[in-house]
């Protein structure tokens, strides 16, 4: 609704300001229209209220402090003069065996996953890096460790339960010895027990002298009285014993109440069978840290790993676990590196299969033996056992090496021809066979190459002497080794040729043999020649082994399901196209 002009607010205000006040003096004020808007009242307080105070706290409250104190080393102060690399020229590195640890690299010791307490994590995190530790301790080393070897030490040192499963030739023993050495120096280990195969005791003694010269080592050997004395020797931080001694002295160790801060098992696949005396004896020894060294943690089946862990961390895994779950469970306890991953520049390993045609006489002997053998197995029918098949396989393999009738050997002829070149070039060769008898025959025929033997039938002293002569005397171009004695622990990286005169049953053992030469420090490419007699049992075995070669990798990469490896009873029967006998129901 439109208001009249005189009632409009603007009009009323104008009236109040002047005109209407004047009228007030001459007459009655007109009544104010109640509809006019009233002016807003301004209230002026007589007393002002106090402003709110903003309180800014000063930085006076001291923060809380968590404190940690650490054990101090008991080792004697380092010598004034540091000689850190006894062989600064590092021939292995110079030959391209890989990049040695650089001065700027820092290898940190990370706490294992099972360490939960913050104070324990700090213990590891606040340690100096390995490069600093080694530098500060002024320890002598025969050569500068490779970066991956420092990683291996950083893996071992904080772990009470560890499996170092590096491929053969990457220096597992050196990593274990150097780690042990630092633990002894830091006072974390005072009593160490190293257990290795009998044939490797002198090798370990040498490696200990090289990599930890200040550590006194007692080799446990000899008659019972002598061993008792050796076990109780005071002020000897490292005891070195072979597996047989451990089995023999099991009760003695218990009786003496010996306990160890660290126990190291070399070639730990020896204890994969949990029910074996060796495994039981090893596991009975009281220890705080358990380290297992093996290049083949899974030789035949996942059970091998379970057996190994019964020593390292009893009950940690079981054979009922799926491979992937098993892999996850052991992941923080196992470190495995392969040469192709860590030694990019390592000299190559050149593999070649030499397919040898048997001589006519050999072929005839072989044919007869196989026919007769298969006929016999057929006649035995259900009575045929694995032993019968095994005997036939052995017999045929021996004929592939030497004709039992004439003594002819196509392999020997081929080998001799190859060795001519090896000798002419001033190189060295290793020849492996599963039979000591074969080695003897080869030595008789290879005298012009200065062939030496190395096998379990020889005394330790004789074997050491053979290694010494082969290494240092130019006239010896060939070393003939049995797989049993020569496949593990030896460092023969000055050899450029490896011949597998006959094949072992398990590719892992063949790899171990080959890696005597193809390892850190290899002076150049290593050529591996595997002799295979054409159209014989050797070719058939080779085919089976090829199919099973990757078992170990499958388990360790947490993938796939483990199959049996090596030759099973079924495999052996299948070599002759025979069905294995039905097994009796359990």
């Amino acid at each position: 609704m439109k208001q009249p002009d005189d009632l409009a607010p603007s009009h009323a205000i104008r009236s109040l300001r002047g005109h209407d006040l004047r009228l007030q003096a001459v007459g009655r004020l007109p009544a104010l229209d109640p509809r006019l808007p009233r002016p807003a009242a301004l209230r002026l307080p007589l007393e002002a209220t106090a402003p709110a105070a903003v309180r800014v706290a000063l930085l006076d409250d001291v923060p809380k402090v968590e404190s940690f104190r650490f054990a101090v080393a008991t080792a004697p102060p380092p010598a004034a003069t540091a000689v850190r690399d006894r062989n600064p020229s590092r021939p292995d590195a110079a030959d391209g065996a890989g990049e040695a640890a650089s001065a700027t690299r820092r290898t940190r010791i990370a706490p294992p996953r099972d360490v939960v307490k913050l104070s324990e994590k700090f213990f590891y995190l606040l340690q100096p890096d390995l490069e600093t530790m080694l530098g500060a301790s002024r320890l002598e080393f025969p050569r500068q460790p490779f970066p991956f070897q420092l990683d291996g030490m950083a893996f071992l040192m904080p772990r009470h339960e560890a499996v170092l499963a590096d491929e053969m030739g990457l220096g597992k023993s050196m990593q274990a010895i150097s780690s042990m050495r630092l633990l002894v120096r830091s006072g974390e280990a005072r009593r160490v027990l190293v257990v290795c195969p009998k044939g490797l005791v002198s090798n370990w003694a040498r490696e200990l002298a090289d990599w930890a010269p200040e550590l006194t080592v007692a080799v446990i050997e000899g008659d019972p009285e002598r061993r008792r004395w050796q076990w109780t020797l005071p002020d000897v931080p490292v005891k070195l014993a072979n597996y047989e001694v451990i089995v023999r002295d099991r009760e003695l160790v218990r009786e003496l109440g010996l306990t160890f801060d660290l126990m190291v098992l070399d070639e730990a696949q020896r204890i994969k069978n949990r029910s074996s005396q060796t495994s039981q004896a090893v596991r009975s020894i009281e220890r705080r840290r358990s380290w297992a060294l093996t290049g083949t943690p899974v030789e035949n089946s996942a059970e091998d790993l379970v057996g190994l862990f019964e020593f390292v961390a009893p009950g940690h895994i079981s054979e009922r676990m799926a491979p992937r779950a098993m892999g996850a469970a052991v992941a923080d306890h196992i470190l495995r590196r392969t040469k192709d991953k860590v030694l990019k520049d390592m000299p190559p390993r050149l593999n070649r299969d030499a397919r040898i045609e048997l001589t006519a006489e050999q072929r005839e002997t072989y044919r007869r033996a196989e026919e007769e053998g298969v006929l016999r197995l057929s006649d035995l029918g259900r009575e045929a056992t694995i032993q019968h098949v095994f005997e036939l396989v052995l017999r045929l393999k021996q004929i592939c090496n030497f004709d039992t009738a004439t003594g002819e050997s196509a392999k020997l002829d081929c080998l001799a021809a190859e060795l001519e070149e090896v000798q002419a070039s001033g190189r060295k060769a290793l020849v492996f066979s599963q039979w000591v008898e074969t080695l003897g025959r080869l030595r008789g025929s290879l005298g012009r190459f200065g062939a030496l033997e190395y096998h379990g039938g020889m005394s330790t002293a004789a074997r050491d002497e053979a290694i010494r002569r082969f290494k240092h005397e130019k006239k010896h171009s060939v070393l003939l080794l049995s797989y049993g004695a020569g496949a593990v622990g030896l460092n023969l990286q000055f050899s450029q040729y490896v011949f597998l005169f006959d094949r072992w049953w398990n590719p892992a053992v063949e790899d171990q043999a080959i890696n005597r030469a193809h390892r850190i420090g290899a002076a150049g490419a290593v050529t591996v020649t595997r002799f295979l007699s054409a159209d014989t049992i050797e070719e058939r075995i080779d085919e089976v082994l090829r199919r099973k070669r990757d078992l170990s990798d499958m388990i360790l990469s947490e993938a796939g399901s483990p199959a049996a490896s090596g030759l099973t009873a079924d495999d052996l029967f299948a070599l002759f196209k025979l069905a294995p006998p039905k097994r009796a129901a359990a």
Binding site: V56, L59, Q127
Partner: protein
């Protein structure tokens, strides 16, 4: 695991003092004492100190010195059972801890960060003692030459940072 409270009686200890800023938690302090070989003897770390915007304004230019030197540095040094030959820090503001301790304090920096500045070299690091410790420089040189032969003087600070990082995750 061996953790004892007994320090090596005949050894010299070296202090490494630093602080780590966490965007969420605030400023953590860490103090590591090592022997001449760089092995840890003691470690102390603080709960985080968070500074408000108002405190930043109020303290102005004096904030960092007060926070590092008094709040964190002095508190940490007071907890140590060992007497360090020198307290090294990689944070300039932390030098103010010197007013709260009788131990010499020095700033450690890589050469490229501090080229031409005062101080002396130990390995690849430049050590600049607090002005109050100028008279002790030759003694400091001697002590740090021994430590520097074994340890890169910048390296223990990495350990402290790794430990504080772990403490935050714990």
């Amino acid at each position: 695991m061996q953790q004892q409270t007994e320090p090596r009686p005949d050894g010299v200890a070296f202090g490494f003092l630093t602080a780590v800023e966490s965007p969420t938690h605030g400023l953590f302090g860490g103090y590591l004492l090592v022997d001449a070989c760089g092995r840890p003897l003691e470690f102390h770390c603080t709960t985080p100190v968070k500074v408000s915007r108002a405190q930043q304004i109020l303290y102005g230019a004096t904030l960092h010195g007060h926070l590092h030197g008094r709040q964190i540095g002095a508190t940490l040094l007071a907890e140590s059972a060992l007497e360090p030959a020198v307290v090294l820090t990689d944070i300039e503001a932390m030098l103010q801890v010197r007013t709260h301790t009788s131990h010499p304090v020095a700033l450690v920096q890589r050469f490229e960060h501090h080229d031409g500045a005062a101080g002396f070299a130990v390995g690849g690091m430049r050590v600049s003692p607090h002005a109050s410790d100028a008279a002790r420089e030759s003694a400091l040189r001697e002590h740090l030459a021994e430590l520097g032969a074994a340890v890169d003087l910048g390296e223990p600070f990495e350990r402290i940072r790794a430990a504080i990082d772990e403490a935050q995750r714990h």
